[in-house]
């Protein structure tokens, strides 16, 4: 029989006992749906975790310091590398060089200082840090109230929730419920505070015009320090700290990086440099280097070390994470397949029932000339068709369940003021794979019933009234 005829006959046979066959098909689709559900949950969680890690900047950031600052806490490294005194200075030129290294996304100086700011005429002492424009995508800001800096040198600030509490004088007592970020942000957004800081200036910039000898003298005296004030507007209040790598010691007020750089705030390293070398040029205590891909951290670190700097990074945790998820996916897949295995027994059962029921019909077909392979093909095609329908239906069902779970999770997250997340992801290969798997399982289930139908003795079948 031609394939087209086999298919047509199989489909009409399926339609003849539509209830039983649809129930079997629903059984398959539930199996496929559970497989799709399990695997896409695994994939969704994996991608979620990956996204989190990527955004946290924990695993793609290298902190670079000059060896000159080494206080000998890492003797081993000191012995391997050049002597601290020979290590290059970590200045703008060095930063540019770091940014040029392969696989480096950006390199920015780490500017932070402790200073006083006045809000509502009350003084507060805090750590202030510069934040590069790329930090906008940091997931710490996903649930932020207000907005990110309008540009990279605007006189704007993002403050942490804890600092907002301090500014408003609302530090919660023990046992008291913490106020929400939104509540704290409302009276603060758009308000300004005055930042007081010590600016380090070269003497010649003070005198304006001077001759060469004056400049030399200025170099010798390094720099002078003057007190400055700046009015800064609060644009954002964040619950989470973007400065994860520094933990509790992190800053609580953030300024745009360019703005912070332009302020030339006196740094502790300036003092050291001034005493040892007397260089007037600004140096950075640390530079953060962000890498394109967490897996490249090792290579980039090695390259930076070659330049003579000291590096610090958290070892690539994504590898063990990937391993964990591979195992998780395997188990989820096995559980998902279990339902499909049960469904395949359903197919066998339905087809064996169909053989008993259609004994006579099979006998007739053989009497009028159907070969064994015709009969076999017919039952095989019925199993395959149930696999196709079950697979498509199952993927649709799994997808719908996934959408519902996504929706439910996001309602929950929103209620707890977390940003929405996609915990459920159905990639195209899974759609195709699940349908193919369903067809294969169905065909395998059809194997026994089909050959049993083909072996049926027509004389017996026709005798049967």
């Amino acid at each position: 029989m031609k394939l087209y005829d086999v298919t047509e006959l199989a489909l009409r046979n399926l339609r003849e006992s539509v209830l039983r066959n649809s129930l079997t098909t629903v059984g398959i689709s539930v199996g496929v749906a559970s497989l799709v559900a399990m695997l896409s949950l695994g994939i969704g969680l994996q991608q979620l975790a990956g996204r989190r890690l990527q955004k946290s900047g924990l695993f793609d950031t290298i902190i670079v310091t000059s060896r000159r600052d080494l206080r000998g806490f890492d003797r081993e490294q000191e012995q391997n590398g050049p002597a601290p005194a020979d290590s290059p200075v970590l200045n703008e030129e060095a930063r540019a060089k770091l940014a040029q290294l392969p696989n480096v996304r950006e390199a920015y100086p780490d500017i932070r200082f402790v200073t006083e700011l006045r809000y509502d005429d009350k003084p507060h002492l805090t750590m202030v840090a510069g934040l590069p424009a790329s930090a906008k995508s940091n997931d710490a800001f996903d649930g932020m109230q207000g907005s990110f800096f309008s540009n990279d040198d605007a006189p704007q600030a993002i403050i942490l929730k804890s600092f907002a509490e301090e500014l408003l004088g609302r530090t919660p007592k023990q046992g008291e419920a913490e106020p929400g970020v939104a509540e704290l942000a409302k009276p603060l957004l758009g308000k300004s505070f005055i930042l007081r800081y010590a600016e380090r200036t070269s003497p010649n910039s003070l005198s304006g015009s001077g001759n060469a000898s004056d400049n030399l003298a200025a170099m010798a005296s390094a720099y002078s320090v003057i007190s400055k004030e700046m009015t800064v507007t609060i644009v954002g209040v964040s619950e989470l700290n973007p400065d994860t790598m520094r933990g509790q010691a992190g800053a609580r007020v953030y300024l745009p990086l360019k703005l912070a750089e332009g302020m030339h705030v006196m740094q502790p390293s300036d003092l050291r440099n001034a005493s040892s070398q007397g260089a007037g040029e600004a140096t950075y205590s640390t530079v953060s280097v962000r890498v394109n891909n967490a897996s490249k951290v090792g290579d980039v670190e090695a390259a930076i070390k070659k330049l003579g700097f000291n590096t610090f990074s958290i070892t690539d945790a994504t590898k063990s994470l990937r391993q964990f998820f591979a195992i998780l996916d395997l188990f989820l897949g096995i559980f998902g397949s279990l339902a499909l295995a049960v469904a395949s027994i359903g197919i066998v059962n339905t087809l064996v029932m169909a053989i008993l029921e259609r004994r006579r019909e099979i006998g007739i077909m053989k009497a009028i000339g159907a070969s064994d392979s015709d009969v076999k093909g017919l039952f095989f095609a019925e199993a395959g068709a149930m696999g196709v329908f079950g697979g498509v239906l199952g993927v649709a069902l799994g997808w719908t369940i996934g959408q519902l779970i996504n929706f439910g999770t996001n309602v929950y997250l929103k209620r707890h003021q977390f940003p929405s997340e996609k915990v459920w992801l159905v990639p195209w290969w899974l759609v195709g794979g699940a349908i193919a798997f369903s067809i294969i399982v169905s065909l395998l289930s059809g194997l026994y019933p089909a050959s049993r139908a083909a072996r049926l003795d027509p004389v017996q079948a026709l005798r049967y009234e």
Binding site: I364, K366, I368, G369, A370
Partner: protein, 236 residues
């Protein structure tokens, strides 16, 4: 084997074993049926008529002996070749019509053409013509359950002959019909025998029918051939 011979049986046995006992349904039958002959197989119930017919049809295999149809020994054929034999060389009709209830008449008659892998567009036309020939041209979209017994048997005749077989094997084709309808069916069978030259082997236990239509009558008892006579009183 003469060129006139269509079916040759030589010492054919079909034994069923039921536990310890052996039931000789067909027990050493030898006979020869010529091309275009109209033969009736007669005998009491359980004498082995149907068993013998199934052996000629290739639905069943002989325990021993030779069943040669159109030059090929069915005993030696593969299952696949036997299916081909049933499809092309013989057509069968049964007492209980055996149409497929879920298909309408056109689809039922078309079914052997599907197995023969005839083109779709040709199939419908051929089935339509075959049904017209047995007087059912207006009922082609009806299912078997919507037809009378006589009409169902006509449809099953159309199906048996759709692949233009050289032999028609009929197992009590009028057994479920009243005598008037039975006569109509027998008329059709005779027509096929005379116009197409189809060889007919018909099982019946009604001697009257055999005498009226068959050229030759073969009598069976307990699986053995007990009589073989040319019918002289055949009606023209």
């Amino acid at each position: 084997m003469s060129s006139q011979s269509m079916i040759q049986l030589q010492d054919v046995c079909r034994h069923y074993s039921m536990g310890d006992t052996l039931i000789p349904a067909v027990d050493g039958i030898s006979l020869e049926i010529s091309t275009g002959e109209f033969v009736a197989l007669l005998g009491s119930s359980g004498s082995g008529k149907s068993s013998l017919l199934n052996l000629m049809a290739g639905l069943d295999r002989a325990t021993s002996g030779c069943v040669v149809v159109q030059g090929s020994n069915l005993v030696e054929l593969s299952r696949e070749a036997l299916a081909k034999h049933r499809l092309k060389t013989v057509g069968m009709v049964f007492q209980s019509f055996n149409l497929i209830p879920s298909m309408n008449l056109l689809e039922n008659v078309e079914l052997p053409l599907r197995f023969a892998e005839i083109d779709r567009n040709q199939r419908e036309m051929m089935a339509q013509k075959a049904l017209e020939r047995v007087g059912l041209g207006k009922r082609i979209r009806h299912r078997p359950s919507e037809l009378s017994g006589g009409e169902q048997q006509r449809a099953s005749l159309a199906r048996a002959l759709i692949n233009q077989p050289r032999i028609l094997l009929a197992d009590e084709p009028t057994g479920n019909l009243d005598s008037k309808t039975g006569t109509e069916i027998m008329g059709l069978i005779r027509e096929f025998n005379q116009t197409l030259g189809t060889t007919i082997v018909m099982v019946t236990h009604e001697r009257a029918i055999a005498e009226r239509y068959a050229q030759r009558m073969i009598f069976l008892a307990d699986g053995k051939l007990v009589g073989d006579q040319v019918n002289s009183g055949i009606e023209k």
